[in-house]
Symmetry: C2
Subunit: 332 residues, 2 copies
């Protein structure tokens, strides 16, 4: 019987490949720099080398490995196993990723969007574990804002595998220009990139003397640094995370009203600043979602839960491995 | 083998009860005034009388009837068969509707939210018929704005049966106050009530001389009258339906990005003014949804379709009857 699967999380900066057993334990993880600059073929080589290494080391018996799951950033055409759009992986567009990897490894692989894989991982071993439900919505606040929907225990892919693009929910119709072409997307207010932009704007307009001093001669600041200032009580940093929470709460309220799921999970790097943005987020949800109010007034077993992700960067690894395990079950 | 089911559509002004055969044909429909003012018990009596009449007339053989489905406005606690909120049915709140009807009829019934039933009806015999997909999102523009999601061929109820409350999607965070407590809900811009309000505002501010003349000494105007003015090229009416379409497009773009369904159907009375609001709606969707753009650039078989409902007021009757048929199949 299969004992483990291999999960891959291909990020803009790191490539991680792990052997994950059926209980969800990471048996071994290989981490390398993605080296996107060296090009697509080089990244795929590196990925396949790491997969083969883990397969050789943990899969001595022929039937020990349940499958291989690969989470990649970007919009995946599930039918064709291609990336339709992937701003962080130049040169991968409309390239048959799944086929190329399968040829290299001589086996079937599962290709999945990274945010979907993370949602599935949180469902299995994270915030959703033991919830007794097969439904979860996860929004990932990273460089961009991604999302994943798990419905009835399965990733909801939609017609062409593009479902879960929660970061491009319009929050402010006349708001900041997003690179997707829309204005006022959630991503423009709740991503790490947005936190940086709002900090630079505040400094430029003379509204953030402390952040300005921290920047010094640099013109760069990280979301993490803004959070450090929030921890010290800086008013400008507080204003920025209020904006993050407000935008996220407006969007979450709409999803709660539309989907009435039992759990909404917030993950990604910016979720580390949970205490800084959660009050504004919860205030907006309470004001804007009557489904939230209706579910949280009564029966405690049927509350709408809004919570932090608990697996951090390991959600995607576990989720992609789990997807491979389940696919293995249905095809074997 | 079961030959037909009974579908009920309980609206704020009409009660309709129909015998629907397994091919989707309405065999017979009984329509009465809801007479909500006469009170809950009187409405239930009337409904059960009509059901029994149809049952006697079309179900001579014991096994001819597949079941009874009842669509009601309001939020239904599916587990308990109660209405949690139903602004249009005063006195029905937290009353065990399903149980009361089942005792009267001495048989099992299916209780469903009216917008969900309409979505299910459109899926079966309307806009979604023959689409080859089990997924559809329907938004209903009536006195309020409701919605229903059909996923994998089933109504998506969510945790407590409250899913599909699409009318309370925040479109403008600082917008018009909604009676749900939120500001800027879609319902405040795309319902018949909203069309009336916007018309009265325009007249009050002197921006709509034609509409003002039509009102005369009245202080009332209907959405239908505003549409009549749109047909005559009135600029104020055009501005109002532009607002309807803009708000609807902003909300649809978000659902398309989140759910990536093959079809979104717009129904309800205001959908009769499709040509008046559709251009603004489609403009917003094109500008705001990259999932729409990505699906509609390429393969014609996988386009995101935005379309009018085709069954009109019969969608709910057919949908609730169909739900009863399917429930009958699984329980018998």
């Amino acid at each position: 019987m299969a004992r483990f699967a291999i999960g891959v999380d291909l990020g803009g900066t790191n490539l991680r490949v792990a052997a994950v057993d059926t209980a969800g334990t990471l048996l071994e993880t290989i981490t390398t720099n993605t080296a996107v600059a060296r090009g697509r073929d080089s990244v795929i080589d590196e990925m396949c080398d790491a997969i083969e290494e883990l397969r050789a080391r943990h899969g001595k018996k022929q039937d020990a490995i349940a499958g291989i799951g690969i989470g990649v950033p970007g919009i995946i055409d599930m039918e064709r196993g291609m990336l339709r759009e992937s701003p962080n992986l130049p040169g991968w567009h409309d390239f048959p990723v799944r086929e190329a990897i399968e040829q290299r490894l001589r086996t079937h692989v599962v290709l999945e969007n990274d945010a979907n894989a993370a949602a599935f991982g949180e469902m299995w071993m994270g915030a959703g574990q033991g919830s007794g439900s097969g439904d979860l919505c996860m929004v990932t606040l990273g460089t961009g804002v991604g999302g994943g929907l798990v419905l009835n225990g399965k990733v909801h892919h939609g017609m062409t595998g593009m479902a879960g693009e929660l970061g491009h929910t319009t929050v402010y119709p006349d708001g900041h220009q997003c690179k997707c072409g829309n204005r006022g997307c959630l991503e423009e207010y709740a991503s790490a990139t947005a936190v940086k932009r709002m900090a630079l704007e505040a400094v430029g307009e003379g509204r953030a003397p402390e952040l300005g001093r921290a920047m010094g001669a640099n013109t760069e600041i990280t979301a993490q640094q803004v959070y450090q200032h929030w921890l010290r009580g800086d008013a400008a940093a507080k204003g920025i995370f209020d904006q993050v929470g407000t935008a996220l709460g407006i969007a979450l309220a709409a999803w709660i009203n539309a989907l009435n799921l039992p759990m909404y999970v917030v993950g990604g790097g910016v979720a580390g600043a949970w205490e800084a943005f959660a009050p504004a987020m919860m205030r907006e949800i309470a004001a804007r979602s009557f489904v939230f109010k209706a579910t949280n007034d009564g029966d405690a077993r049927r509350r709408t839960i809004i919570t932090r992700a608990v697996l951090g960067g390991e959600a995607g690894l576990r989720g992609s491995a789990r997807l491979a395990m389940l696919q293995g079950e249905t095809t074997s």
